[in-house]
Amino acid sequence: MSAPKPPKPANDSVTTPLDFGRFNELLLQSTGVGLAAVDAETCEVLFHNQRFEQWFPAVEDANCTLQTLLPSFDFEKVAARVGEGRPFTGEIQIKSGRRPLQIAVRIETSIRGDGQVLLVECQNISKVKELEYMIESYSRMVERQNRDLLKEKERVEKLLLNIMPKTIYEEWKQFGITTPQRYEASILMLDFVNFTEMSLSRDPPALISELNDIFTGFDRIVEQFGCERLKTIGDAYMAVCGVPEPTPEHPRNIANVALRMIRYLKRRNEAHSQTWQCRIGINTGPVVGSIVGIQKYVYDIFGPGANLAARLEALSRPMEITLCEDMARHLREEFQFIPRGEVELKGFGRKRIFSLDSGPSMSSTPSFV
């Protein structure tokens, strides 16, 4: 170790019982800061304190220069910076015993009599770095978790949109509740002839897969005509128009959907060995739409309008669409019906019923207004 020359005390002219030389030396050696003085020309270490040696034991080796101690530093930059009279700062990771340490190094020039020396000051910033890395690690974890949560939220939203219309969902999200609302709407009820027998006699997974396929086809038709699929229960399919978006065209749209569902099934039956026959009931009337359930939400409609559609569906023969005169009145300009006489409908009295035969050209554009 080069002999340290203790700096002169500032007030050496004053007689004092305290030995400043000794004091300064102790301070220099016991400080937590690593200090070294380096020849600016040769980079040879002229002086260092104990802390510096503890962190950079190689300083004791013969021919040791600052470059060998700080191999990751760009000494051209160091020289340029200190040449401008400004300090150069950098960091280096070293190992002290088993422990990795992060050391912040500050190099600046100092004029010493005939030449220049570089003062090297080293601080142990490991704790700061460790905390920094820990926060970094934690933030990344939280950010990832947030992204996952967001994805999950989107998935849940998508699921909820399957069981309730978007406008109802928005209301429910904003206020936590939805108000039941009354609508003038048209309702379509469909189910399959002999589905129960089919499901018992055939391979159930294949049957469900076909049902799923057909319902998906129905969904497309329903969407095309601005209607909503409300729900399916087993093999029953229920669609509605005018809820929750009111439209004066609801009877027309539902009638069009019904005709296209029949056409879709007929075409499908031509190409498949397993044929599917449905019954459809359509009706126009007042309904109340609301979310029901606390734990298991479902958006549903209630009221005579929906009940009558179900009754009419039960009266349909295979591949027939049944409606009663009130709805037929809305449609008579564009659609053709076959009268089926008068029937007694439980809860609704005697009604004249019709079967919907055909409508405006199938290729006509759907009406949404």
């Binding site: 990771q93 905390l131 820990m134 690690s137 934690y138």
Partner: protein, 122 residues
């Protein structure tokens, strides 16, 4: 939803102290030295943060399969595993956790010993 230990002990503010204690103790351990000797400081801190957070039900989790996967190439022996379990216990205790929770976590770790240990004791 039941609250996790992570939440009960005040979230990351508390957990960070446990992470730092654990980190220090791991580095001071002679037994564990070979495993961490050449690991970059940032990676090691990252690893310990995730590890402690996951143990306490924070925002990270590892399946048993993943645990086995990440430890497979390290050739960890039984002695080192026990040392790590001991250090973890100390860090959790010093972090102010209840004995029951410490036992709980230590138990969970020990249950997975066979997933982590891949080398015969020397």
């Amino acid at each position: 939803m039941s609250t996790t230990m992570f939440e009960r002990y005040g979230g990351f503010a508390t957990v960070s102290k446990i992470v730092m204690t654990f980190y220090d103790k791991v580095l001071d351990s002679e037994v564990l030295d070979p495993y961490f000797a050449n690991v970059d400081m940032r990676r090691l801190v990252d690893h310990q943060t995730k590890f402690i957070s996951a143990l306490m039900g924070g925002p990270a989790s590892y399946t048993d399969q993943k645990l086995a996967e990440v430890h497979a190439h390290l050739g960890i022996d039984s002695t080192s595993f026990d040392e790590m379990a001991r250090i973890l216990r100390e860090a959790l205790e010093e972090g102010g956790m209840d004995d029951d929770d410490v036992d709980n976590i230590a138990g969970e770790i020990i249950k997975r010993k066979s997933l982590i240990v891949s080398a015969k004791a020397a």
